[in-house]
């Protein structure tokens, strides 16, 4: 089975993340950049499928030059090759534009059976790109997968959302997005790191994909961020002294916050 995995470089959740003052886009200089953890899981799932069924795993990423670090991480885990869409014009692209570009980039990969992605990136958290790509490519979408299995050319997914668990099925090719329950990603080995250097990475511009640069980027985005403010510092919180009624007081507080 030939699998495309969509990966994104995001600011490390371990470092402080912020937006630039100028245009409210991500301040990529402010934080260490890493391969999004949800994408590590998508890559892991692709590798497990490949190990079971054979085939090839191609990672596709859109991002600035330094996204090559995230791509190399996926390759060092064991993916076979990569397509990197890198273009100044993409700065500030929104979810719809991103989906269009990625759909075109996926089109350069021959004979894929499955497109895997994380259900939402830890930075933008739009959670819409995989579904949009399925729409653009005319493929079935199976989102929020916590388990994926195959029977011939049928893919079955356990889909887990706040509403509950559903089992959905589609015929391949299809787009599947995974949640953090899907698996525990492997660490690359140093051998994998050395092998990654020799794996092919096809770097393309939007023009190479037949997209007009005017259609992408901040200026042409359908959504605009007007204002951004840092999260207020944490307040002291409320202290409950347990005089025997502590449990009740905590329960009342949680009810008041509509948490239970």
């Amino acid at each position: 089975m030939n699998i495309v995995v969509l990966v994104k470089q995001v600011p490390d959740t371990w470092s402080e993340r912020k937006l630039t003052d100028a245009d409210h886009t991500l301040d990529r200089e402010a934080a260490d950049a890493v391969l999004d953890e949800i994408n590590e899981r998508a890559v892991e799932e692709a590798l497990r499928i490949k190990e079971a069924q054979g085939g090839e795993v191609t990672v596709v990423s859109m991002g600035p030059d330094r996204a090559t670090d995230a791509i190399r991480k996926a390759l060092s885990m064991g993916a076979d090759k990569a397509v990197h869409v890198s273009d100044e014009a993409l700065h500030g692209s929104d979810a719809v534009q991103t989906a269009r570009v990625l759909a075109k980039a996926i089109g350069t990969v021959e004979g894929y059976d499955l497109i895997l992605a994380g259900n939402e990136a830890t930075d933008g958290r739009a959670g819409a790109v995989p579904a949009m790509i399925a729409e653009l490519l005319g493929l079935p979408q199976l989102t929020q997968a916590r388990k994926v299995s195959f029977d011939g050319s049928t893919v079955t997914v356990e889909r887990e959302t706040e509403e509950g668990l559903t089992t959905v099925q589609a015929s391949l090719p299809a787009v599947v997005s995974v949640t953090e329950k899907i698996n525990e990603p492997r660490y690359p080995s140093f051998k994998g790191i050395m092998a990654a250097k020799k794996k092919p990475v096809n770097t393309v511009t939007v023009a190479d994909l037949g997209i007009d640069a005017g259609e992408v980027g901040l200026a042409g985005a359908l959504t605009t961020v007007l204002e951004a403010a840092p999260k207020p510092p944490r307040t002291a919180g409320e202290r409950v002294e347990d005089d025997g009624t502590g449990g009740t007081k905590i329960a009342e507080y949680l009810v008041g916050q509509k948490l239970i």
């Binding site: 060092s76 660490y187 080995s189």
Partner: protein, 381 residues
């Protein structure tokens, strides 16, 4: 703040990123607990082995990472910042592979090296005996020839991984000709006649096993002799030159962890209405700690680069071991000072760092012995 490193290649950068990730997610969360319960974390070595981190400075052909010491040591330093006992274990394992990798015949390397480097096995380096510490040439463990085998009898002391190792690189006596009567053997840990005493009860490094290992008529094929009879001490000292660089890197990693802990604490602890980091008395102490850590790092990297270029580096390795381990002792002691009463409790890691630092001044040649090595080199010109 993680150490800022100038690395020679993208693969080295990716390697350090991988080591940091493993150290942060797999090592650091387990360290305090395992050290408190004196538990040897064999499974952590398996993970490191699987990731290729137990074989970094050895040839790719035998499954190694083909990394220069400049890179291997910085990876080791990162491990030490998260878990000293594990870093020392990695350094000892790497050292125990060195005699075969460097002095073994092609045939011996073909036969055993890939297994030693594959990541499943853990090695030990057995030189010291209870009456032969600094004076290692006084060792008395005997190997007597019996047709195609040696029969080894005696007791090795202080062996890191004693009793848990899969193989032992052992220095034995094959003749009474003093320093020239010593021979190096690569012994399978499962050979009948090998047994270990209960581990030493140590002040620190409690997650690492240190034990006497008894050899009672242990039959070792002559094919497992590394080098010729009588070359053992030369091989052992050569291994120690590289091993000392490993200990220097471990020391810098430990000192860095202590510095980071001290800075983080000093930023958030307030007295007299201000964070204590704003008091010059403490600020200068922290600045001196940072200066010492970075100087020690520069010192071991300089020695490593000489090694990587094939230049003599014995004096530089001894200087690096001396400077880095004395630095670790001072910086960890000062870190306890910065944390005040909290630093003296087991609720914070700095008292453990201080206990761990002490042994670095003692093993792989005490710091008095390092000064002897340095001075001998000066004398000989």
């Amino acid at each position: 703040m993680p150490a800022q490193r100038l690395l020679p290649s993208t693969e080295a950068e990716d390697l350090i990123a991988l080591v940091r990730e493993i150290a942060r997610d797999e090592l650091a969360p387990k360290t305090a607990e395992a050290e408190a319960h004196e538990r040897f974390p064999r499974e952590v070595f398996r993970l490191l082995g699987k990731s290729g981190l137990l074989a970094l400075p050895y040839p790719e052909r035998f499954g190694g990472g083909a990394q220069p010491y400049e890179v291997y040591l910085q990876a080791l330093e990162e491990i030490a910042s998260a878990w000293m006992s594990v870093a020392v274990g990695v350094s000892v394992h790497v050292m125990s592979c060195y005699p075969l990798a460097t002095f073994g015949t092609d045939e011996q390397r073909e036969r055993w090296l890939a297994d030693l480097l594959a990541g499943d096995l853990l090695g030990a380096y057995a030189l010291s005996e209870s009456h032969a510490g600094s004076d290692a040439a006084a060792l008395a463990t005997r190997a007597v020839r019996d047709s195609d085998d040696y029969l080894v009898t005696g007791t090795k002391a202080w062996t890191t991984h004693g009793g848990v190792a899969d193989f032992y690189t052992v220095m034995v006596r094959t003749s009474d000709d003093g320093a020239r009567g010593i021979t190096c053997l690569l012994v399978d840990g499962g050979t009948p006649g090998i047994s270990a005493a209960p581990p030493e009860r140590k002040m620190g490094l409690t997650g690492s096993v240190t034990a006497q290992v008894h050899f009672d008529g242990v039959r070792v094929p002559v094919a497992r002799r590394i080098g010729e009879e009588g070359e053992g001490l030369k091989i052992a000292l050569s291994a120690l030159d590289s091993g000392r660089l490993g200990i220097a890197a471990c020391a810098v990693g430990l000192a860095q962890a202590a510095l980071d802990e001290a800075v983080a604490y000093a930023r958030q602890r307030t007295q007299f209405g201000r964070p204590i980091i704003e008091f010059q008395g403490l600020e200068f102490l922290l600045a001196d700690m940072a200066a010492a850590v970075e100087s020690a790092r520069a010192t071991y990297l300089e020695a490593a680069r000489r090694r990587d270029r094939g230049l003599p580096f014995r004096r530089q390795a001894s200087i690096a071991k001396l400077v880095a381990t004395d630095t670790a002792m001072r910086v960890t002691t000062d870190a306890v000072q910065v944390l005040g009463g909290a630093g003296y409790t087991r609720d914070f890691p700095v008292e453990r760092y201080m206990r761990e630092a002490k042994v670095l001044q003692i093993f792989e040649g005490t710091n008095q012995i390092q000064r002897m090595v340095i001075a001998r080199d000066l004398r000989n010109g």
